[in-house]
């Protein structure tokens, strides 16, 4: 009987512990996060969009160009070494997607009709993180709409420019 009482007491105390201890649930780092401020006629020149960061891993490169079916300097170490690269580098097509993500997040439905230009300046190696951010450079009225032109930068964790781009779109 004493044992049963001790057991019930222990059970009750455990419940109490979990009632008062807040569970820490981590956020999914890959979950879709829309921009808080998107393209509108009110946005001023000089406005900086909220940045977002992407991490490139060898696994992601091997999904984008499925390995080992396809072995290139984007997903295969020996192939990269053959070209004097210390490790595989991210495909330009893959980090172009960061620009695409920026354009559709910022312009929303009005991404149709926009123009995007992206130039690759540096290599992205496994485990590198790239932060993408845009700045409104120009705002010009075109009839009822406003044309916003943004300079987009993509910097790695060392502050090096990986990619630069320009996006220009009409906002109604």
């Amino acid at each position: 009987m004493l044992g049963l009482s001790l057991f019930s007491l222990r059970k009750r105390l455990t419940k109490e512990k979990y009632k008062t201890t807040a569970m820490h649930f981590e956020e999914d780092p890959t979950a879709f996060r829309p921009m808080k401020v998107t393209a509108s006629k009110d946005i001023p020149v000089g406005f900086e969009t909220e940045p977002f960061t992407k991490k490139w891993t060898l696994d992601k490169g091997r999904i984008f160009q499925p390995w080992p079916n396809s072995k290139t300097f984007h997903n295969d170490y020996p192939s990269a070494h053959d070209l004097n690269l210390r490790a595989p580098i991210e495909a330009g097509c893959q980090y172009l997607e960061y620009m695409g993500e920026f354009v559709i997040k910022f312009f929303g439905k009005e991404y149709l009709g926009t123009k995007l230009s992206a130039s690759f300046l540096g290599f992205v190696y496994p485990e590198d993180e790239v932060t993408i951010k845009g700045v409104v450079r120009e705002k010009v009225a075109e009839g009822d709409a406003v044309r916003l032109t943004l300079d987009i930068s993509a910097l790695n964790q060392r502050g090096e420019n990986i990619m630069v781009g320009t996006a220009s779109g009409l906002v109604h």
Binding site: N69, S70, Y98, G100
Partner: protein, 181 residues
Amino acid sequence: MEKIFSYSSCREVIESHLQLMAQQKGTPERKLTMDNIKIGEEFEPLEFAFTEEDRDMYAWANDDYNPWYMEDSPWRGCIGTPTCLAMQTLMQTYGHYGVQQKGINPPGAVVHNKHEYEFINPIKVGNKLRMTGKPVDKYSRRGRDWIITEHLVVDEDGKEIVRMRVRNAWPIVVQPEEKTN
């Protein structure tokens, strides 16, 4: 939402990409050299579909699970990412010239250098698409050769989807501090 990824679906994607390359008539004999580039010469058209497997692969590889891609969009149905057809432009160009990215053709490999888009209509998942393209400029500068190509993608109804202008250069230049020891 639950993210469903299947590696076998990625194998399907690479198989479809290899088939796309095979549509081109490039051979190692038709090398990527400045002499072989004929400005205005049309590449063989590429016909393909942007499938659900392509959509999943792009989402997984880039951690981009926009509900417009995965669930539904203002255009009724899922769409592809705006920039998802970049790979196909390289397939069309590299396929035409028989590029082999092992430093064989051309020596030192080709690097994708600049990409321009004009987004016209959304890329609907499952729609059949057709890409045409041609070289529009070529030059040699700073020890490298450069080719600029233009591509147009239309859907099965002939509606324009996206226009692209692409710059590629060869060989790859590696900065001294990045070389292997």
